[in-house]
Every structure is written in structure tokens, then in C-alpha cells.
């Protein structure tokens, strides 16, 4: 970073942005904008500056501006990233090339069509499935879960559904039907949850010909994940799981028991009692 920029001044950076208007364009084209960049500006800030000052028709998807909502996934300087979580001057002081996420259809400019992505996510039933449906619908207590049991899946629960992993996956590049790292990681997130009893229901989506067998562990989904979810790890654990179950070394775990009342807890010393229920 040069001294001018450290003193709060701006440096001109060229933003090369992919443009595509489905109503007028037959093929996407690249358009250049010069953006005055100051220290700390993110790629998303740069896009907002272009929209406010140079071209109001530039389209993209964003919301929280803090790497939580997962809306602003883009292909920035040849790598899938969140536009809000990457500072311009950390990437380049000269040129930022922004394209929509690959492996998704382009709706307009930098807006990818995530419909199929969410359909795949939904297909693996990403929610707790219990055999005691009456208890699940009208709970009489909490499901018991130890901190160790929580650690087994909590990493995979941090997914913000930004879709970067699918755009980085080389298998997705040639095979649209592949379930993909995001959905498979979510399948493992629930399969490994001690409260869940739905492994068999997810099986046909996870272990079929479009499931885990198509992952060849390029590891890019884990590299690009902005939340440390590590989808490729989850897929390898799914593979291990099916191997152990096929060899009859492991069985589906039984769902966690329901703690009917707080009295079932054994209180420890120096820990205050919980507040009274408000509902």
C-alpha cells in the first residue's frame, strides 16, 4: 500500500465488471470503471460508488455488508469471494476484475441464479428429523446434547448459503446434476447431529449417483468458504459413514433423549440456577 493511501488519500483502481442485460445483450461484455479507492474500501463499496456516480444500471445482489447474509458472492480476480469481505487494496492496487459466480446462470450483470442451488439444499432435508413427530411438534422438553456432540457438527452449521463452494467445484463445472458441496455438507451437519434420526431419509439424496461419489476431493469448496465450514471434509466424513454402515461396523445413532424437566439436570457447584421460564 502506498503512502498517499495511508494518509487517507485515494488511488484510482480500474474495475473491470461483467455486464449482461438479458433484454438487450446476446453475450456478456466487460466494462471498465475508474474508482477512487481509499484505505478500507471493500469491493462492495467500490460497486456502490460506481452505481451512485457512474452507472446506475449496474446490478448485483447484496444485503448485510458484513459477511453474514451470503448475498454478495462474486468471482473477483479469478477467485470466488464475498464482495463485502474483501478490501480492494488487499486484492490489487491497479485492477479488479469482477464476474458473476461461475456454474450459475446469469440473471443480469453480477446476479447469479441460485434457484437450483437452493433446490439442492432443500433436497437433503436440512432440518432435524425425529421419529417421535408428536414430541417434535409439541415439545415437552429439550433434547439433551453435550458440548462434545455439539462440536461434531457446529462447524458445518455455519453455512451462510453464499454459493461460493459450487462455483469453485470442478465437478460442478461439468456436471450440473451433482448435488454439490453445500447440500452434502448440510446433509452431514444433520446426520451428525445427536438429536437427529433422519439419516435413512437423507440417504437416497446423499448416496445416489449424483451424491458423494462424484466428489473427488479437489478441496476448493473448503478453500473458498468464507465461514470455515469445510464442505469437502463433510463429504469425506459422509463417505466414511457409508463405508462403515455398509460394512456393518456402524449403525444409525439413536436420537437424543428428551429432558422432561430442568430437575433432571444435576446442578454443579458455583453455577447459578437458570431464570424461570417466561412462556
Amino acid at each position: 500500500m502506498n503512502e498517499d493511501n495511508q494518509a487517507g488519500k485515494t488511488v484510482p483502481v480500474i474495475f473491470q465488471v461483467l455486464r449482461y442485460n438479458p433484454e438487450t445483450d446476446t453475450t456478456p461484455r466487460m466494462q471498465e470503471f475508474e474508482v477512487p479507492v481509499s484505505k478500507g474500501m471493500t469491493v462492495l463499496d467500490g460497486l456502490h460508488w460506481i452505481k451512485e456516480n457512474l452507472d446506475g444500471s449496474l446490478s448485483w445482489r447484496s444485503s448485510c455488508r458484513m459477511g453474514v447474509c451470503g448475498s454478495c458472492g462474486m468471482f473477483i480476480n479469478g477467485y470466488p469471494r464475498l464482495a463485502c469481505s474483501n478490501q480492494i487494496l488487499h486484492l490489487s492496487e491497479k485492477r479488479i476484475v469482477i464476474k458473476p459466480l461461475p456454474n450459475y446462470e446469469i440473471i443480469r450483470d453480477l446476479v447469479p441464479d441460485l434457484e437450483k442451488f437452493f433446490r439442492k439444499h432443500k433436497s437433503v432435508k436440512p432440518y432435524l428429523i425425529r421419529r417421535d413427530i408428536a414430541e417434535q411438534n409439541m415439545p415437552t422438553g429439550e433434547y439433551f446434547q453435550s458440548p462434545d456432540e455439539l462440536t461434531r457438527y457446529i462447524q458445518f452449521a455455519y453455512c451462510i448459503k453464499c454459493g461460493l463452494c459450487l462455483s469453485a467445484c470442478p465437478t460442478m463445472a461439468t456436471d450440473e446434476k451433482f448435488t454439490g458441496p453445500q447440500a452434502l455438507a448440510q446433509a452431514w451437519r444433520y446426520n451428525s447431529d445427536s438429536r437427529d434420526e433422519g439419516c435413512s431419509e437423507r440417504q437416497k439424496f446423499v448416496y445416489d449417483e449424483q451424491g458423494v461419489s462424484k466428489c473427488h476431493f479437489a478441496g476448493t469448496c473448503s478453500d473458498v468458504c468464507p465461514k470455515g465450514v469445510d464442505p469437502s471434509f463433510a463429504i469425506q466424513l459422509l463417505k466414511k459413514d457409508i463405508f462403515l454402515k455398509t460394512m456393518r461396523i456402524k449403525k444409525d445413532h439413536a436420537g437424543a433423549t428428551v429432558l422432561k424437566t430442568a430437575r433432571e439436570y444435576i446442578p454443579q457447584e458455583n453455577i447459578p440456577n437458570p431464570p424461570k421460564p417466561t412462556v
Binding site: 446469469i106 461439468t174 451428525s192
Partner: protein
């Protein structure tokens, strides 16, 4: 109000990378390059296998046909090609071993709470990749000696 009919006819632009995305390593990690090389070497070994079946199958046309086929392959170009197949085999076998072990959960650690800077399982198994690639390189060098110095 947007024209509903017009909106329905507007097509999204396809942006699937295809074979280019399959080959492109870009700024991704070493495992992405290992993935591409694994596929290329796999296809190379498959091609060699078909050629091998054709060559050995020529024996059914008699001894003369067999001798002609062997004479065709007895050239420096085919010998270099055969050494390339050996390199492909050494890489494919060793990298395949890594994939086999990682699919069984080896060398990847356990799930843990994501704490910045994130360290994923791909990084945790990378030493295994390095060690196996060094072994592959040693096998290739030894094979090279056998092909070009001891084989004659």
C-alpha cells in the same frame, strides 16, 4: 410495471465453466491441481490400456503380425510414451492412495469450531500429499533409470 410476457421470454445466460473449469487450477490449492492431474493421468492410462489390448491382440493374426506390431513399438518415441505411462501410473497410484485414505477420514483431523484464521481439513491432510508425491517422484526416478540405463 414490467411486461410479464417479455420477462418470461428472457433467458438467463449460461455460465457453466465446462471442461475449462475442470482443468483451471487458478489460485486454488495444490489439491485442485492434483485433481486435474489425477484425471489426466487416469485418461492416459486408459488410452494406454486400449492400445495395449490392441497390440497384444495382434497375436491372434499370427506370428508375423505380432512381429510387425512389436517392430512398430520398438522406437524411441514409443519408449518415451511408455515412460510417460509409467509416470502417470506412479502418480495416479500414489494420489489414489491419498484419496482412499482421506475418504476413510484419515489425516483430516476432527470437526472443530471454526476460529479465524480457518484451518480446513484440506490443509491438515496436505503433508500426506507432499510425502506421497515425494515417494511418487522417487519411484519415477528409479523407473527412469530402469527404462533408460538398465533396461537395454
Amino acid at each position: 410495471m414490467p411486461d410479464e410476457k417479455k420477462l418470461q421470454t428472457v433467458q438467463h445466460k449460461k455460465n457453466r465453466l465446462g471442461i475449462a473449469g475442470w482443468v483451471y487450477g487458478g489460485r486454488y490449492g495444490a489439491e485442485r491441481y492434483a485433481y486435474t492431474l489425477h484425471r489426466i493421468t487416469g485418461l492416459g492410462i486408459l488410452f494406454y490400456f486400449i492400445l495395449h489390448i490392441f497390440a497384444t491382440g495382434s497375436r491372434i493374426w499370427g506370428e508375423a503380425a505380432w512381429t510387425r506390431t512389436m517392430a512398430l513399438f520398438d522406437s524411441p518415441v514409443f519408449k518415451a510414451g511408455e515412460f510417460l505411462v509409467f509416470i502417470a501410473f506412479a502418480y495416479h497410484a500414489l494420489n489414489g492412495l491419498r484419496l482412499l485414505f482421506t475418504e476413510l477420514g484419515c489425516w483430516m483431523g476432527k470437526p472443530q469450531r471454526p476460529v479465524i484464521p480457518y484451518k480446513n481439513a484440506v490443509r491438515r491432510q496436505r503433508p500426506a500429499l507432499v510425502v506421497l508425491m515425494i515417494i511418487a517422484l522417487v519411484i519415477i526416478i528409479l523407473g527412469g533409470f530402469d527404462f533408460y540405463l538398465l533396461g537395454e
